[in-house]
């Protein structure tokens, strides 16, 4: 089954009675018609016609430049919106100008009151969203594709099943088989105009004559349409295994209404997860707007869960107000994007108190992350590096359990990253400082300890391309009793001999000690 987008994006400023065309430069640089409206088609214009010819025929033709990339984006957004009817929606990529969507509605039609009702609903909703579309249903993507574009039943619904697909396809032109232009020309030359003309032909001969060409061969397309050959579709978003869905007659335009309905959705999603012993680690709420757009909000959890009250709270923290409701949502979908078995989490912890503690910590991190964002709830992870600023890495706390670092009283409690330059005076060039100025305040050193030499990590070049240098760290105490962690970068003698192109060793403040 597929729904087809109109050739041009709807623009209320334009009267549909006026001929209108979108112009695109083709590969040879000539401006040709990329898409056109029914009025333009009615006066005899067609796709691919040079703009100059078209204007000669119809001087009052309204021309606008086409934007294929924006079209593709809009089509993908529409595909997400169409997930209201099917978890597996794919964009038809093959044919330019005949773009459409494939919806896999296997086993889903009864939810919408049958196939005919589903097609009617799709057409009505798309029309309501400002997109004129044709829709048809078939047993294969190929059959649906052909019927949606060339199907006769304009008033009634074009629905084919395994039995009558062959008959319904038979009167359609051969181009309904998604073949390229070369194959089409060749087929016409042989007098093969309708799909039915192909049925009595010997397959071996057909395959031999139409095997070449860039696209998929004629015989394979025929087989795909009739269901003799399979065809894989790539959905715009991977279909989730667990999803809860709700649609209502009147659009919901306020956050309170969304929240109330979200409570039902979380309960609906939780039930199958409990049944299967699964827990969700990531959830996405998708709201379907009546204007053909979607709006969504995601939350992540550190460990799998299925408590609908917790989910609801996370969505509240993440900010339901961030959903763009527009003129209102007429359906909402809650999907579990990441699912994990719950059992794995239960045996891992020892005592019940510990398990409870770990659980409440994970819940806290989830909640903070939902509100503040993943990159603002952090925990330190020790890293393998000599350089103090690289010895730990701050990572999102989500899904990690914070661990205590191995401590050292000679390390600062607050680290300045990056280090700040200081002006220091030492009695000896490679000795401890006796006086230094940091943040415009001069301090006299009363006691000092060092140096602690940290060799440069020569295998990690500095971003500015300069050579990394040795650091000599000192713990110093000033006259007020404050303690600092200073280092001198560079060595006199070995890394600096006084030559003009070399940098003299410099002093830096790297942190404060208690």
């Amino acid at each position: 089954m597929r729904a087809r987008r109109p050739a041009s994006p709807p623009d209320p400023a334009l009267d549909p009675k006026n001929p209108f065309a979108l112009i695109l430069k083709n590969s040879r640089g000539a401006a040709v018609i990329h898409a056109l409206n029914p009025a333009a088609r009615a006066v005899g214009l067609r796709r691919g016609q040079p703009q100059a010819d078209a204007l000669a025929m119809i001087p009052h033709l309204i021309c606008k430049p086409a934007d294929p990339e924006a079209d593709a984006r809009a089509l993908t957004a529409l595909a997400v919106w169409a997930e209201r009817w099917s978890p597996s929606v794919s964009v038809d990529p093959a044919t330019e100008g005949l773009e459409g969507l494939f919806l896999d509605v296997t086993g889903a039609a009864h939810l919408f009151g049958g196939e005919a009702a589903l097609l009617a609903q799709i057409r009505d909703r798309l029309a309501g969203a400002g997109a004129r579309a044709r829709a048809a249903m078939g047993p294969t993507p190929g059959a649906a594709w052909a019927l949606a574009r060339w199907g006769e039943a304009e008033g009634g619904e074009c629905i084919a099943d395994e039995e009558n697909a062959r008959g319904l396809l038979s009167p359609l032109p051969v181009e309904a088989l998604r073949i390229d232009d070369r194959t089409l020309t060749q087929a016409r030359r042989f007098g093969l105009k309708r799909i039915g003309d192909l049925y009595p032909m010997p397959r071996a001969g057909l395959a031999r004559r139409f095997r070449d060409g860039d696209g998929v061969g004629l015989v394979q397309r025929l087989d795909q349409a009739l269901g003799f050959a399979g065809e894989a579709l790539t959905p715009v978003r991977p279909p989730p295994k667990y999803r809860a869905w709700q649609a209502w007659m009147e659009p919901v335009g306020d956050i309170e209404g969304v929240e109330a309905r979200l409570a039902d959705l979380t309960a609906d999603l939780s039930a199958p997860l409990v049944r299967d012993g699964q827990g969700a680690k990531a959830l996405t709420l998708t709201g379907f707007r009546s204007d053909g757009r979607t709006t969504s909000l995601s939350v992540r959890m550190g460990r799998p869960g299925r408590d609908s009250a917790v989910w609801l709270r996370l969505f509240r923290e993440a900010g339901l107000g961030r959903l763009e409701l527009g003129f209102g949502l007429d359906a909402m979908m809650l999907t579990a994007d990441e699912v994990e078995a719950m059992t794995a989490w239960q045996g891992a912890l020892e005592s019940e108190a510990e398990a409870k503690q770990a659980e409440s910590l994970a819940a806290l991190i989830d909640r903070l992350t939902a509100r503040l964002g993943e990159d603002r709830v952090l925990t330190a992870e020790p890293a393998d590096s000599w350089l103090p600023e690289r010895a730990e890495r701050w990572r999102p706390a989500l899904g990690r359990s914070p661990a205590a670092a191995e401590g050292d009283a000679r390390r600062p409690i607050l680290l300045l990253d990056p280090p700040e330059p200081v002006e220091a005076m030492a009695e000896l060039p490679d000795g401890a400082p006796v006086r230094f100025t940091w943040r415009r305040l001069s301090r006299r050193v009363t006691r000092s300890d060092g140096p602690e030499r940290l060799s440069p990590e020569w295998w990690r070049p500095r971003p500015d391309g300069r050579q990394t240098r040795t650091r000599d760290y000192y713990r110093v105490e000033d006259e007020a009793g404050a303690r600092y962690w200073l280092f001198r970068e560079g060595l006199y003698g070995r890394e600096y001999s006084g030559a003009a192109e070399e940098r003299a060793p410099s002093w830096w403040m790297h942190g404060v000690l208690p």
């Binding site: 503690q357 409440s360 910590l361 819940a363 806290l364 991190i365 909640r367 903070l368 509100r371 503040l372 603002r376 709830v377 952090l378 925990t379 330190a380 020790p382 103090p388 010895a391 730990e392 701050w394 706390a397 914070p402 661990a403 205590a404 670092a405 191995e406 401590g407 050292d408 009283a409 390390r411 600062p412 409690i413 607050l414 680290l415 300045l416 990253d417 943040r439 009363t446 006691r447 000092s448 300890d449 713990r475 110093v476 105490e477 000033d478 007020a480 009793g481 404050a482 303690r483 942190g511 404060v512 000690l513 208690p514």
Partner: protein
């Protein structure tokens, strides 16, 4: 600005109250404040510590550094506004998942600190607000002013800084006498404890003379 000699204090209130407040006496005392703040939790409490501070605070004072915080597993929440920091503090305190929640929040109102106090009692955690000063009203049970002190004498090397020392001045305590205590960091456990009274002489000597080597023996 050295605080008055540690005058006739009562017992040091080692057991933290649900909500306390501590500020640094001056710009040099940030590290001492941090060490004091981290000591305001029960010994042997294995729950992690949560710290929230605005990016501006972290830029000014530096970020907490794991290797310098032995035995502390830390969750850091850098936030943009004081409101976010207060919200984070309240969530952490109420959850009961952390042993201590630190928040570098300036100008929390009386109502806000009351909320935090209530959340801390509910969750069984300790909350510590680190404002710039102690001027405003607050529901915190204790309000501390922390200043750094010259370190203890290192028995191995008299010229090197020894065990860290600081003064914790209880400016106001509910039902407690104000006082000041000298605390010292234990080399082994890295926890703060009351400094040895005998050390007072050493402290005075360091304060006046630049070469304390003679007194170290």
């Amino acid at each position: 600005m050295t605080p008055a000699p540690l005058s006739s204090p009562g017992l040091f209130p080692e057991r933290p109250a649900p909500l306390e407040e501590a500020c640094a006496a001056g710009p040099r005392d940030a590290a001492a404040l941090m060490a004091f703040a981290l000591s305001r939790r029960l010994e042997g409490d294995g729950r992690p510590v949560l710290m929230t501070a605005t990016r501006a605070w972290l830029g000014e004072h530096g970020r907490p550094y794991g290797p310098g915080l032995p035995g502390t597993s830390l969750i850091l929440a850098p936030v943009n506004t004081a409101a976010e920091a207060l919200w984070t503090l309240e969530q952490a305190l109420r959850s009961g998942a952390v042993s201590l929640a630190l928040g570098a929040v300036d100008a929390a109102t009386l109502t806000q600190t009351r909320r935090l106090d209530f959340a801390a009692k509910q969750g069984g955690c300790v909350g510590l607000v680190l404002p710039r000063g102690l001027d405003g009203l607050s529901a915190a049970r204790r309000r501390w002013r922390i200043s750094t002190l010259a370190s203890a004498i290192d028995p191995d090397d008299a010229r090197a800084p020894g065990a860290a020392r600081l003064t914790a001045e209880l400016v106001r305590g509910r039902g407690e006498r104000a006082g000041a205590w000298m605390l010292e960091q234990d080399d082994e456990t890295h926890r703060l404890r009351l400094a040895d009274r005998l050390a007072d002489s050493g402290l005075a000597a360091i304060g006046h003379a630049g070469a304390p080597s003679g007194l170290a023996a």
